[in-house]
């Protein structure tokens, strides 16, 4: 079906009849063979964007390029793309074999060609013993693999996946993720994968596009997303447990909060600034107090979450909490929502500590903060300052 092609979205906008703007002038390029993940809270437009690439939603404005071909106005059946649906959408009255071959049959592939490719994919996905069963007789995982198989058999120019793993239980999801990456390495097909789970995004995506309210926040490799978030929302959304925030002030080359002063990395324009900022520290950004002369902060742990080889220590800090719509939007994608439990002024921190560190609730714990693990954001616009 031809080697992999890139997908380019130019100023794509989608306004629904009621006036709601689901996608707002998104520019995005997926390089040939790349595995791009679209991630963001529910209602951020990631699925709508994917459906527009598939042709299932009309485009209000902007152009979609599949390789060198402008497919913006093409019908789904006229685009050489395959899609895996969240509900798998397997044809109930067809056997697994006919489900897998349906796409090829629609595009007029000869019978032996169809059978060969179906057999091949069935072997790869371990579906040989299921070929003559009906979807109703399969388990969730098996159905998911058949849905994948149906796309793979087509050898399309691109895979479009709409939260395909969300209906699986946790353990099966992890193993399917691994299979998905392996498959991508083997097939090398350009893929756009939509999920609301940021762990899935970070582990699968060669690049990840974070969306919010229809606007593309940042599109970058997972490490850079993790280390150089362009704004407060991306910082809060990426990483689990999510980053801790606190209002602080920068003066004379150091940031001060909760009675502790941490020097600002030299060379950044913050070194000379004197202003209020939002300070972000990842739970893994704290060291355990030691003699290396780093500034220390002492906190009183309230909850200790036992993870086995590590622990999450949850304690509140004597500094103003940060509660902007960006953090709230990011939070709604996570499960924990601590904002409600605390009095307005004290911020709550989650700190990841090694499993063997003696920690008891109520006993003060001193932590060291290294300047190069800090993130700074503008309190009004939320854009990153580092």
């Amino acid at each position: 079906m031809g080697e992999a092609v890139g997908i380019r979205l130019e100023r794509i906008t989608k306004r629904f009849r009621g006036g709601v703007v689901a996608v707002n002038e998104v520019d995005l390029e997926v390089r040939p063979g790349e595995f791009m993940v679209l991630v963001g809270p529910s209602g951020c437009g990631k699925s709508t964007l994917l459906r527009m690439v598939a042709g299932l939603e009309s485009v209000t404005d902007g152009t979609i390029w599949l390789g060198e071909k402008d497919v913006t106005e093409d019908l789904p059946q006229e685009r050489d793309v395959a899609m895996v649906f969240q509900s798998y959408a397997l044809y109930p009255r067809m056997s697994v074999r006919r489900n897998l071959g349906f796409g090829l049959r629609m595009r007029g592939a000869a019978k032996q060609e169809r059978e060969r490719r179906v057999a091949e994919v069935a072997d790869v996905l371990g579906l040989d013993h299921l070929l003559d069963r009906r979807p109703a007789a399969l388990s969730g995982g098996q159905r998911q693999r058949v849905a994948m198989g149906r796309a793979i058999v087509r050898e399309p120019q691109a895979f479009l996946m709409d939260e395909p793993l969300s209906n699986l239980d946790a353990k099966l999801r992890v193993s399917m993720r691994a299979q998905l990456s392996l498959l991508h390495q083997r097939l090398g097909t350009t893929t756009i994968y939509v999920t609301h789970d940021q762990i899935e995004a970070m582990t699968l995506g060669q690049r990840v596009a974070v969306l919010r309210d229809g606007v593309l926040q940042q599109c970058d490799t997972p490490p850079r997303l993790f280390r150089q978030p362009v704004n407060l929302f991306v910082a809060a959304f990426i990483g689990s447990p999510s980053m801790n925030f606190v209002s602080a002030t920068v003066s004379r080359g150091a940031v001060e909060f909760a009675g502790v002063r941490v020097p600002v990395p030299t060379g950044s324009e913050l070194a000379t600034a004197d202003r209020r900022v939002i300070l972000g520290i990842r739970p893994t950004g704290f060291g355990v107090a030691s003699s290396n002369g780093l500034p220390t902060l002492s906190v009183v742990p309230e909850i200790v979450e036992e993870l086995g080889d590590e622990r999450n220590v949850i304690a509140d800090v004597d500094a103003p909490r940060v509660d902007t719509d960006a953090t709230r939007a990011a939070v709604d994608a996570q499960t924990a929502d601590d904002a409600l439990l605390l009095p307005a002024e004290r911020a709550r921190f989650t700190i990841r500590v090694p499993g063997d560190l003696p920690v008891t609730v109520g006993e003060p714990l001193t932590l060291s903060i290294s300047p190069d693990r800090l993130y700074f954001f503008d309190p009004d616009s939320g854009t990153s300052l580092s």
Binding site: G55, L56, F102, R150
Partner: protein, 280 residues
């Protein structure tokens, strides 16, 4: 006895009473059919209106033999009429239902009620114009006019049945077919039709019985040798000059096919109703 045990003690009586009432109603409903069967199986000589309820002394098929020659033509005509009419209107209804449920065009929401009203129209209000047009097309010289009319006036109900049935298909299934490259016709053929049999059963039952049992169109649109069964039956038994047992025998013969259809496909009919096919 505490109320709980009282209620449990009363339980079996309640259930027995319920069965009894259901059984009684069953008899009431079957009474006319009993009269029909008994009278047509009696020996013609011993038949009289007064002894209608008595069981037949010895069974005899004479009544049937007497009326069958007069009814045979009508019976065959009705088969030639009802089978194609119900099949074609069901197929067209399936196509309409699919488009109106899953392949909607602008204005589809307005078109459907307009079609639906066609189901309720009193035939008297279109009788004379329809007759003039069918006659001017010369279609009343044989059964083709009647078949065409039953197909067209059957479309609303079959469209309704299939539309409410296809509405239950998940949208993603249709989209999957689209993405897999199937256009409208192939999506209809590969996705909708395979799961349509229950709806087909309901449509076929409804259409077959309404085509078989119709009288008004039959009497207006056909000539003597093309009369459907109902008109033939009315011509034999309706004139009252015919003996009681022949009237009953002909009435019995006239409703055998529809009763058979109901008894065999009855459960589909119920399942169709459950799926809201006929909520209308």
């Amino acid at each position: 006895m505490t109320t709980r045990t009282a209620r449990r003690a009363r339980g079996p009586y309640l259930r027995a009473a319920r069965y009894l009432v259901l059984f009684l109603f069953g008899c009431l409903f079957l009474l006319p059919v009993y009269a029909l069967l008994v009278t047509s199986l009696k020996d013609p000589a011993s038949v009289s209106v007064v002894t209608m309820w008595e069981l037949p002394g010895k069974l005899s098929m004479d009544s049937f033999r007497a009326v069958w020659p007069k009814l045979q033509n009508g019976f065959v005509n009705s088969l030639i009429l009802a089978i194609p009419a119900s099949i074609i209107s069901s197929i067209l209804g399936a196509a309409n239902g699919f488009v109106l449920a899953k392949w909607r065009f602008p204005g589809a929401d307005f078109v459907f009620p307009v079609i639906l009203f066609g189901m309720f129209i009193p035939y008297q209000a279109i009788l004379i114009p329809m007759f003039r047009v069918i006659a001017s097309m010369g279609l009343n010289r044989d059964l083709s006019g009647l078949i065409l009319v039953h197909i067209i006036y059957g479309l609303p109900i079959t469209t309704l049945i299939f539309r409410s049935y296809f509405a239950s298909i998940s949208e993603e299934l249709i989209e999957a077919a689209k993405v897999d490259g199937a256009g409208m016709l192939r999506t209809f053929f590969f996705v909708a039709l395979p799961i349509a049999p229950p709806a087909f059963a309901v449509a076929m039952i409804w259409q077959f019985t309404s085509a078989w049992n119709d009288f008004l169109f039959g009497i207006v649109l056909t000539r003597t040798e093309y009369w459907p069964i109902t008109v033939a039956l009315n011509n034999i038994a309706g004139a009252q000059t015919v003996p009681f047992n022949e009237a009953m025998a002909s009435a019995l013969l006239a409703c055998v096919p529809t009763v058979l259809v109901y008894v065999l496909l009855g459960r589909f009919f119920m399942r169709g109703l459950m799926a809201g096919a006929l909520k209308g």
